[in-house]
Symmetry: C2
Subunit: 122 residues, 2 copies
C-alpha cells in the first residue's frame, strides 16, 4: 500500500503554490525544467529545487534529453493522495447531515452544550 513516509512527501510536494503550478502545467504534457521555471518569479536554480522536491516525492519523473531535462507526471503518487482524501470523504458525507444533530445533543458534554462554529480567532 502507500507507506506513510511516501505520503508525507507527496503532500509536502503539493504544499507549495509553485509546485502545484508545475503539476498543473505538467498535466497537459511533458515540460523541461526551464519551461517549468519560466513563469515562476524566482531563479532557475530555485525552480529546479522545486522540481527536485516533486521528483523525490515520485510525483514526476525526468528523462534527460541532451542538455534538457524533460519532466512528466507520474500518476500513481497523486492518485494515492487523492484516494487518501477520498476515503475520508465518505466519513464526511456520512457525518455531514448527522453532524448538525450531533452538535446539538449527542456529543454535548454533561454540563456544557457544544455549539457549532464558534468562530473564534487567534
Amino acid at each position: 500500500m502507500v507507506d506513510d513516509v511516501a505520503m508525507d512527501g507527496v503532500f509536502h510536494a503539493l504544499a507549495s503554490g509553485a509546485r502545484r503550478d508545475m503539476v498543473a502545467r505538467l498535466a497537459d504534457g511533458p515540460l523541461t525544467v526551464g519551461q517549468l521555471a519560466a513563469p515562476l518569479d524566482m531563479s532557475l536554480a530555485a525552480a529546479a529545487k522545486h522540481v527536485q522536491v516533486l521528483e523525490r516525492a515520485g510525483v514526476i519523473s525526468r528523462t534527460v534529453d541532451g542538455r534538457r531535462h524533460i519532466c512528466r507526471l507520474v500518476p500513481g503518487p497523486l492518485a494515492s493522495a487523492q484516494e487518501w482524501l477520498e476515503f475520508y470523504r465518505r466519513h464526511w458525507s456520512e457525518r455531514l447531515d448527522a453532524l448538525e444533530e450531533l452538535l446539538a445533543e449527542d456529543f454535548a458534554p454533561p454540563d456544557a452544550p457544544v455549539r457549532p462554529r464558534p468562530a473564534e480567532e487567534e
Copy 2:
C-alpha cells in the same frame, strides 16, 4: 474559489503522518487535544502544535469545553484539496495508456536514440 495560500496550508497540514493520523481518527467523531495526542509518541505540547497547524489550515475547528478543547473535522478544506487532485486525475487517465507505451520504448534500449521530442522549440 480556493485561494492559493489556503491550499498551501491544507496540503502542508496533511504532509505529516502525525497530523494525518489525527484527521483519520477525527473522522470518527470529535476528540479532545489530549485524546489526539495520546497515541502519538511525543509530548502533549508537541501534539498541541500539530493540532494548531490543522486548525490554522481550517482542517479542524475547536470548541473549548471547560478545560478540554474539543476538535472536530471541517469538511470544506479537505474537500477542496480532494477536488484539486480530482481535477488533474482526468489528465492522468488520458495520459495513462499513452505513458505505458512511451515508457516501454523509451527506456528499453539504453543506447538507442532518444525518442520523443515533446516540446519542439526553436
